[in-house]
Amino acid sequence: MEHYGHGYEPEPGLDEGSIVARAQDGDLRAFEYLVNSYQDRLFRLAYRMLNDRGDAEDVVQDALTASWRGLAMLQDVQAFGGWVYRLATNRCLDVLRKRSTRTEHITDPQDILSISMDGAGSDQLADPAYEAERTARDDSLTRVVNTLPPEQRACWLLREMHGRSYAEIGVTLKISPAAVRGRLARARIQIAEGMSEWR
């Protein structure tokens, strides 16, 4: 079995569209580059949606495996990023739907806490008091975000944590870009109020 380094690039400076096109031709190195490039982002999205490492890893694995299987059908190579985000988001929403039809999923707050405290900003040599304040703020934000309904949370995470476009989020959630804008505005004010109550 071959292994390539994390920083592997099929050719230095190659644009993502060309890498996607090569993966469509069955180039495993090109596909592996795409997996490296998207797996962490998709994991962060799935973890913030699901608050469960195992479920988030399953989503990443399912979404990227499905992207390999569907690659040949992808018409526009530039659309790859939006497409894998869509695959991952819809899987997250499926998991949440299944959970809600079973029993209420209990998230151990300790689990979330340890994730957001360990290693956060660990590459920065910052003032410990500032770091503690920052961590507390991150914590209260994620707590409030977790109270949003799943689709609204997806909307907020895709836009604010991942910088995806209104048009792309609209396609993912099957709503218009204007509706995305509306949902985001509502989510922001709700989160802002939730955080001010927290203080």
Partner: protein, 201 residues
């Protein structure tokens, strides 16, 4: 209120509008409206908190999938890879030499990588039979494979926005016509090139 109407504060001000202007000084209405002032201050804190969480998450080494996740994905990809066709390069009394379409594509892409301003994308290789082949007589002799047939290479490329496309694409064609016989010993035959995109430099 319809679900997709623009959400507004009680004073009628659009929340989205407040969000996008939160870093600017308050306008005349916002200077006197208590609701707007409260919303501005909360949204400003939210903006900071959002940016902080985004940075923490990106740098948080715990917020990554286990390495097993990638291995599983790549195992599936390897197991399900479409086996490409093989092209006969040579045949004599001691046996045959074939090359997969994928390996030949790699030779073509390597050649393309040498041309400045070209990013090779999808590559298709067809084998045209002699009957439909008007250029068969032009093929150099001495290439023992593909007797009575020749390759039709279809390569799609993205180009840098600042290049002279006809000149660059012609030098790409010449590069491929030289590299294929040099690398694998058969003529490149027909080389059809399509510029499908401009890439950002």
């Amino acid at each position: 209120m319809a679900l997709d109407d623009e959400p507004r504060l009680g004073c009628g001000r659009s929340i989205d509008r407040i969000w996008t202007t939160v870093d600017q000084p308050p306008n005349a209405h916002e200077q006197t409206c208590g609701q707007c002032q409260a919303a501005r201050s909360r949204l400003r804190s939210l903006r900071e908190a959002t940016q902080s969480l985004r940075e923490s998450d990106v740098h948080n080494t715990d917020l990554k999938p286990r390495s097993g996740v990638k291995s599983s994905i790549m195992d599936v990809a390897r197991a399900e890879i479409r086996r490409s066709r093989r092209i006969l390069l040579a045949s004599n009394g001691n046996g045959t030499t074939e090359i997969s379409e994928q390996a030949l594509s790699a030779v073509i892409r390597l050649a393309a990588a040498e041309v400045h301003g070209i990013h090779a994308r999808r590559c298709r290789i067809e084998i045209a039979s002699a009957s439909s082949d008007s250029s068969a007589g032009d093929r150099p002799s001495g290439y023992p494979g593909l007797v009575g047939s020749h390759l039709v290479i279809g390569l799609r490329v993205a180009v840098a926005p600042d290049i002279n496309i006809p000149r660059t694409v012609e030098s790409l064609r010449q590069r491929i016509i030289t590299a294929v016989p040099a690398g694998v010993g058969i003529s490149a035959g027909t080389v059809n090139l399509t510029v499908e995109d401009l890439y950002d430099v």
